[in-house]
């Protein structure tokens, strides 16, 4: 599995072969608060880099989930739809959102590594 990469919209992404797994970062969940609703893209649909690919709602507000890369949705995580609190518990592990079959793996190149993202998250929070 590839190194974890991060987007400015606070998604994380890992790559295995040509299939990317995408979720939202721990930092994002801390900003959102308790998550009570999750909506995921439909399996088989195509999503475009930086386009919306889902929604999460906290007790306070709704937020779009963006995809950091383009591709076809090959799997979604029904467990977080059934129990959205799992996203707060393990955002960067078992509470992944969806898997994409990537078209263009070079889209990964512009994303941040962990160190860069941590710095970005720290700066954007203050």
């Amino acid at each position: 599995m590839s190194e974890v990469k991060f987007s400015k919209e606070h998604e994380w992404i890992t790559l295995e072969g040509d299939v990317a797994t995408i979720g939202i970062t721990k930092h994002a969940t801390e900003m959102l608060g308790d998550i009570v609703f999750a909506e995921l893209p439909e399996k088989g649909s195509n999503v475009e880099k930086d386009g919306t690919a889902g929604v999460v709602e906290s007790t306070k507000a709704a937020s779009d989930v963006y995809t950091p890369v383009s591709g076809e949705v090959v799997d979604t995580n029904q467990a977080i739809v059934d129990d959205p609190s799992k996203i707060n518990e393990d955002p960067e592990g078992s509470a992944w959102f969806f898997k994409l079959k990537m078209k263009d793996q070079s889209e990964m190149d512009s994303l941040m590594n962990k160190e860069e993202y941590d710095k970005f998250a720290k700066e954007s929070a203050s």
Binding site: G33, D34, F37, V55, S58, T59, K60, P84, S85
Partner: protein, 367 residues
Amino acid sequence: MEIKKTSLNKLHQKNNAKFVEFAGYEMPIQYSKGVIEEHKLTRSHSGIFDVSHMGQLFIYGNESLTEELEKIFPLDLKNLKQNCSKYSFLMSEDAGIYDDLIITKIEEGYLIILNAACKDKDFEILSNLLGTKFKMNLDNNRSLIAIQGPKSVEILNSIINGVDQLNFMTGHWFDSDNKKLFVTRSGYTGEDGFEISISNDEAEKFVENLIEKGAQLIGLGARDTLRLEAGLCLYGHELDINKTPVEANLKWAISKSRLSNGGFIGSKKIMNQMHDGTSQIRVGIKPEGRLIAREKTKIFDDVDTLIGEITSGTFGPSVNGPIAMGYINKEYSKVDTKILLEVRGKKHPAIVCGLPFYKKSYVKGVN
């Protein structure tokens, strides 16, 4: 304009509050535990809410003040006993709601608790109506602390002996450390609880004492989920100048004895609406599944007719599901009516339901 801070601001910071601006004040939306846990703590134990941004209006006077206030509010104030409280409204001539409020008859006159966003305008309106005959004080030197939840009576009584003898919607002056506190048994969470009016310089110490006894600070986020579960209206959402108390399904708050003769501001419209009904009314709404329908979500029937709008919607931690309130055309307001909510361009099923979503446990008949 510079953001205002309550006398508990430093204590909120010390307790890792996340702040938001609310009605010109920097207020805690949540602390480190988060909205859901704070909500559940209030329902199961005891939560402390800083509601010092709300207005505490003291109006001093005797029978002639009661007479003047009856010309304004739809209440039977002549028969309101001293230290008893009533929920009411400041209305326009068209019965539009300027504010919803709690009025308590005290020895010196009346104490009216006003919403933060409305208090200055309310003061202006009431000053114009009452003239200079009565001394009025929108008291900025006092904080207002709510303590809510089943353990609150035990905790508060250990600090202010005797509060356990108050019935719901009554209040009294108490002495604590030689300080005068006005305590009412009331609140806005659907739980038993109290609101304490205390001088600003004593507020922090008082709340620290409550925390020491086991109560915990709760933010505005949980205050909103708690009041919505209890089916209670929030000004600026369910209530505004374009809504009347009858449309808001709050006609219980209008004293029956005042409906025959009127004589309060807005009485003509209220009496007409009581007789003829209104085209829309506030109802409870339960979306199917986990869908959350926020404020301004449009409501449709099954043939695509727009029939209403959501005014508040969130996830109810104690009912463990989404809940909402909104205004809907009268013919759709019956409990169990199937409706559709348009969220992010798609229509989702929901039903009209009774309020509250969560059953209250107010204390009556202590004495």
